[in-house]
Amino acid sequence: MNSRDLEQRLEEGKALKPGPELAERMITGLPRECPPVRPLPSDRALTFLIFAAFAVFCLVVSAAVGFFGFDAMRPADRGVYYGLIAVFGLLFSAGLVTGAIPGAKVRAPAGWLETGAALAVTLAVWWMFPRFGQEQFMKHGIPCLRLGCICAAVFGALGVMVLRRAYVTELRRTALLLACFAGFSGVAVLSLHCPLLDAGHIIVWHLGAMAVSALAGAVIGMRLERGG
């Protein structure tokens, strides 16, 4: 066999045809009513809607628990940190839209966005804040982790409600993405609420909420894939 034979053999697949009754069965197999449906908005509109929901969620939760973190930060640090959170919030929103719509354009390989967000926050806080100077590391950290995980759980549940309106084709990947996004909402809330501006505290306890959420998302995604 040469290359042309190989190509020709592959092309032969185009000649395969089903029985003539298949199309008929497809049509009669549908429900009797074919009501009109309203198509989902464009990718851009959906991305902004999800981002707006993310921003509102973070602000509402922070309003309930207090904006002590925002108050404690210098204006320059606020610009960098909240700018970073906004950028990744938008990227996560776009990623979720990709996961929710069959055949949507994939802009980055799986895992890049999640890893990028964690790395970016780590580098930013490492640069901006003192490192590991905090006393009673565990005592101050556990409440932050708890709040972050609660935010992740609530945001994740809201995300699932949104995804059920769409049609997810890559279950494992989308579950992981949503879980990381949910964990990131916890990071965002903690950035507004927590006045402990120490790099070690933020990396371990704030990003820890994202790690816990990612792990939960990975497990849920695997089980959904197995369950079919």
Binding site: G13, L16, C34, P102, A104
Partner: protein, 171 residues
């Protein structure tokens, strides 16, 4: 597709006619069983019907259709193996099912092409099917398989290299 979304039953029929052959080819070359392929086509069409609101005008239709087709096949495969694990004795049940499927494969063209493709890993096989049999572009295959264009190129390259190596293709 737009008219189908608007509730036009005639448009739905026309779309079903146009898609049936495409979907059938996509499934039959992977499952190698005509009956199962036709069942998958029907299942896929039902899912297309339920998910029709997720298609937006201006977006390419075929990647949307094939993305749903892929999901249909994965779900069917996992369901069969879940049933095989729980309901049949664990002494080669999966092999029995595979043997029963391949017994009913039509002789002639189908086995030759499906033999070619059988040797490939799943992702590479579907990439070759979508590129060569379905005639999609690299961008469209990337959308349908939830991958980047670079990943699709890599899979295609590896698939062709494997096929050449296995079938002793002279360069």
């Amino acid at each position: 597709m737009i008219r189908y979304q608007q509730g036009d039953a005639v448009a739905a029929s026309k779309l079903a006619e146009e898609l049936s052959a495409r979907l059938y080819r996509f499934f039959v070359l992977q499952v190698r069983n005509h009956q199962e392929a036709e069942d998958l086509v029907q299942d896929c069409w039902l899912r297309i019907h339920k998910a029709r609101h997720t298609y937006r005008s201006g977006e390419p239709l075929l990647p949307w259709v094939y993305a749903i087709a892929r999901r249909t096949q994965v779900d069917r495969y996992r369901k069969r193996h879940r049933i095989a694990r729980h309901e049949l004795p664990d002494d080669g049940a999966a092999e029995q099912i595979a043997a029963a499927s391949s017994d009913s494969v039509e002789k002639g063209r189908l086995p030759e092409l499906s033999e070619l493709l059988k040797s490939l890993p799943e992702r590479q096989r579907e990439t070759v099917l979508l590129l060569k049999v379905a005639g999609l572009s690299l961008e469209e295959v990337a959308r349908a398989t939830g991958a980047t264009v670079g990943a699709v190129k890599q899979r295609a390259h590896r698939a062709y290299a494997t096929l050449r190596r296995l079938f002793g293709v002279e360069e």
